[in-house]
């Protein structure tokens, strides 16, 4: 069954043309051959039900693997992961099982330059799971990552997902996640995107159940000639569901960013609330920034809003800091850092926040 599943996806993948992303003027080229990935991606876990994908499991989980439509970055990316993945995980947390925690390293090096992961995460009723995913590389390999993760958060369950992508400029990074949230279930995501010369990140959330909840927070940095396309879709189906997206970023050099969000209130999702906010700090005259925050609504009994803003560093803040003895560059870094902090405060470990702030400083050329 697994063989057939993969074969079908490979066939579809091969028939699809390479996507052309016109907003950032980039044709996405996929690796000609996917080599084996020989690294263990589980760095830490305190539970047992993490499995490598095999024939038997595929049969058991097929209903979770086959989706009703195409989500994520696009068909080519999805079929690539479903057909040609060289690593991946099935995580199935039992009902009522709490305190689960895992750290996953999706790292790239010269011996493993191509990373294609296909993952399935199921949090059964009233379970809880925290997952930390790190994306690092050896800073010298021209690499490629494409990931596709299907997530099911069942009734009353809670998932906290933290992603910190710190690839070097040599890596192309594409990541699609589709998340289904049932009644009274909750998903919190903090997605930190610092590196990679070309990246596409896509979250597609279905708030299926009544009182389902999703909060996505994103921090990003664009330097050099980075190109990036972020897409956050929340579909409100259940009554009293709540969905929030907040994105804060900074662009410098010749970085080019596209931010999209869609709040889709579907008839029947009464009393639901949604909000999407994006703020980008523009640090160089050569940056390019696109924002497309969409609101679609076929249910009147909802509250939805979005806000997007773009601008330079706050002149008053800069003046104050420079008055206190900081030079312009240091003041700039401090202002960017301070705009990221409210989101980074949501990380469960203080050292994660410090690490990210140091990485931001490094990338912006600070001490």
């Amino acid at each position: 069954m697994l063989k057939n599943y993969r074969a079908q996806n490979i066939k579809e993948y091969e028939m699809l043309p390479n996507p052309y992303w016109k907003r950032i003027n980039e044709e996405i080229l996929f690796p000609e051959k996917v080599l084996d990935y020989n690294k263990d991606i589980i760095a830490e876990k305190n539970f047992d039900n993490v499995m490598d994908v095999d024939e038997e499991l595929c049969f058991k989980y097929i209903k979770y693997l086959e989706l009703d439509r195409n989500y994520g970055l696009g068909e080519k990316f999805l079929r690539f992961s479903e057909g040609l993945s060289n690593t991946g995980l099935f995580i199935d947390i039992e009902a009522g099982d709490k305190g689960n925690r895992a750290r996953i390293d999706l790292n790239i090096d010269s011996e493993n330059p191509i990373l294609v992961d296909h993952n399935l995460i199921i949090c059964r009723e009233n379970s809880e799971l925290d997952i930390f995913i790190n994306y690092e590389d050896d800073k010298k390999t021209n690499g490629f990552h494409n990931g596709f993760t299907k997530i099911y958060v069942e009734k009353g369950a809670k998932l906290n997902l933290y992603k910190i992508q710190n690839y070097s400029q040599e890596i192309q990074h594409f990541d699609s996640s589709v998340i289904f949230v049932d009644e009274d279930a909750e998903v919190n995501i903090i997605d930190v995107q610092l590196g990679s010369k070309l990246k596409g990140v896509n979250y597609d959330v279905g708030l299926k159940g009544d009182r389902s909840f999703c909060d996505i927070k994103n921090v990003y940095l664009g330097t050099d000639k980075d190109k990036m396309d972020f897409n956050y879709d929340i579909n409100f189906l259940g009554r009293n569901s709540k969905g929030y997206v907040e994105s804060v970023g900074a662009l410098t050099d010749k970085a080019w960013k596209v931010f999209r969000s869609t709040e889709n209130f579907i008839k029947g999702c009464k009393k639901s609330e949604g909000s999407a906010k994006e703020y980008v700090i523009l640090l160089n005259k050569d940056v390019k920034s696109h924002a497309i925050p969409a609101l679609f609504c076929t249910e009147d009994d909802v509250i939805g809003d979005h806000a997007a803003s773009a601008g330079q560093l706050d002149g008053n803040k800069m003046f104050y800091l420079m008055n206190r003895g900081l030079d312009k560059e240091a003041a700039k870094i401090l202002v960017v850092e301070s705009s990221f902090v409210p989101i980074l405060e949501g990380l469960p470990e203080e050292n994660m926040k410090k690490t990210i702030i140091n990485l931001v400083k490094d990338r912006l050329g600070g001490d």
Binding site: L282, C297, A307
Partner: protein, 469 residues
């Protein structure tokens, strides 16, 4: 126990718009579109050759472009069944007395002669494909203001028209701009000389009476340096059970330090495909103000665009869209910030009810040259029932770091708390809801001339059947 009925907000009362006259025309092309029809229209108008060439080139472009698929579904629009040119059975006159009775009555019902007497400096009235009445107050003529129907302008001011005509909206802009270029007829030409400030508005009204016809008027306005003008455009048609199409074009040139307010109340019938194109080019320290009310049509695709080309040029867009049963009103605004310190404000309100679809679609672009540009965009949507649809899709593209740009959008229905508050102050539920809806569109009504503000409030006629248990 009394049953509690759902609050019902009436559709716009269209009685005065829906009265049609018996069709009497002097000339009409056959249905459809081809080269010989274009030549016939041009010959009928006794046009210069460059205009015929422009028409034929536009037809070629029109035929080469596919029907756009990114917006409302236009696949049912059958232009082979549309009569593209109908000359009414009258000449253009400068006195209402000379206008045939039935046509005059139509405009009387719409309040145009009365508005002219009371508050307008000039009026143009188009009936089907041609302008049937055009008049300018002497004072305006003395100031050197030129206000003519487009056909006369092509002949009397050929050099100016040739210099500007379809340069801002070239036929290549999109399929329906090309259609317009091929079959345009009627419309207004306005030139306001340097430094002249026209205190009283002028108005052109476009009435499409013929069944299964198209209206393709062209409006060309040039407001010269430091001059000012308020131009009002109104449009309506009676309802038919066949398709009608409107693909007008509005080209506005606002020179250095000049200011133009362009107000539109569009109330086409619900069989109309309204595929209008409007663009303004604003030079240094010039200002364009759009005030736009979209109420009619089956499908509207209307996104007035401001191209802010000169330093400190400004644009302000204030729009309201009311989509009722069977309507898909896809409206919005586009702004190109293309010079230093340019700025724009966009305020858009939409209301949808009884299955109507209201869509805000916007584009805001800042070029590399737009250093110091500022923009504020605000969109609010109100859904009056659960059968309707309301969407917001703004696109923002910036190629400059020295900008300050913000966009906000909200969607929802009338909050229960607001109704409760007003009811606690002694209002009935009906009054409370009516007040909230009127308050919602108030930013638009206050921008309109008084008689249009009254008309707008009449259009949004609130009727409640509900009782509170």
């Amino acid at each position: 126990m009394k049953s509690r009925k759902k609050t019902y907000v009436e559709d716009i009362d269209r009685t005065i718009y829906d009265i049609s006259n018996k069709e009497r025309h002097r000339f009409a092309t056959i249905k459809g579109l081809n080269e010989s029809i274009i030549k016939e229209i041009s010959k009928e108008k006794d046009e210069p050759k460059w205009m015929l060439d422009l028409r034929l080139n536009s037809l070629e472009i029109y035929n080469s472009k596919p029907v756009p698929t990114w917006g409302p579904n236009l696949s049912e629009l059958d232009l082979d069944n549309i009569v593209h040119y109908i000359r009414p059975d009258t000449d253009m006159s400068h006195s209402w007395e000379e206008v045939p009775e039935d046509i005059k009555d139509t405009f009387e019902r719409l309040g145009i002669p009365q508005a002219e007497r009371e508050s307008l400096a000039g009026v143009g009235a188009q009936y089907d494909s041609e302008v049937v009445y055009h008049n300018t107050k002497e004072e305006l003529t003395r100031q050197g203001v030129v206000y003519l129907d487009m056909e006369t302008a092509v002949k009397e001011y050929e050099d100016i028209v040739k210099k500007y005509f379809m340069t801002l909206i070239p036929p290549s802009y999109h399929k329906y701009a090309a259609l317009h270029g091929a079959v345009w007829s009627g419309g207004s030409f306005v030139y306001v000389p340097k430094g002249v400030k026209v205190d009283i508005p002028i108005q052109s009204y476009f009435r499409l009476n013929a069944k299964g016809a198209g209206q393709f008027e062209h409006t060309l306005i040039i407001v010269d340096e430091c001059a000012e003008l308020h131009f009002i455009e109104g449009c309506s048609a009676p309802v038919y059970n066949v398709q009608n199409v409107h693909a007008g074009a509005v080209e506005l040139f606002i020179k250095k330090g000049a200011k133009l307010r362009y107000s539109t109340i569009e109330n086409w019938s619900k069989n109309m495909y309204n595929l209008n194109t409007k663009r303004a080019l604003v030079e240094e320290e010039g200002t364009i103000e759009w005030v736009s009310g979209s109420f009619g049509s089956r499908i509207s695709m209307l996104y007035p665009m401001s191209i802010l080309k000169g330093r400190r040029a400004k644009s302000e867009f204030t729009g309201v869209t009311f989509a009722g049963e069977g309507q898909i009103l896809d409206t919005g605004a586009k702004v190109l910030l293309a010079a230093p310190e340019t700025s724009c404000i966009i305020n858009s309100k939409s209301i949808s009810k009884s299955g109507g679809v209201a869509m805000y679609r916007g584009l805001l672009q800042a070029t590399k040259e737009a250093s110091g540009a500022k923009a504020a965009v605000n969109c609010e949507s109100l859904m009056l029932d659960n059968d309707s649809k309301s969407d917001t899709l703004p696109i923002m593209e910036f190629k400059n770091d020295n900008i300050d740009i913000g966009h906000e959008a909200k969607i929802g229905r009338i909050p229960d708390e607001s109704i409760f508050y007003l009811m606690s102050r002694g209002m009935s539920e009906e009054e409370a809801k009516a007040m909230i809806v009127r308050g919602f569109v108030e930013p638009i009504t206050k921008e309109l001339p008084l008689e249009y503000a009254v008309e707008l409030n009449n259009l949004i006629d609130i009727e409640l059947e509900g009782t509170i248990d």
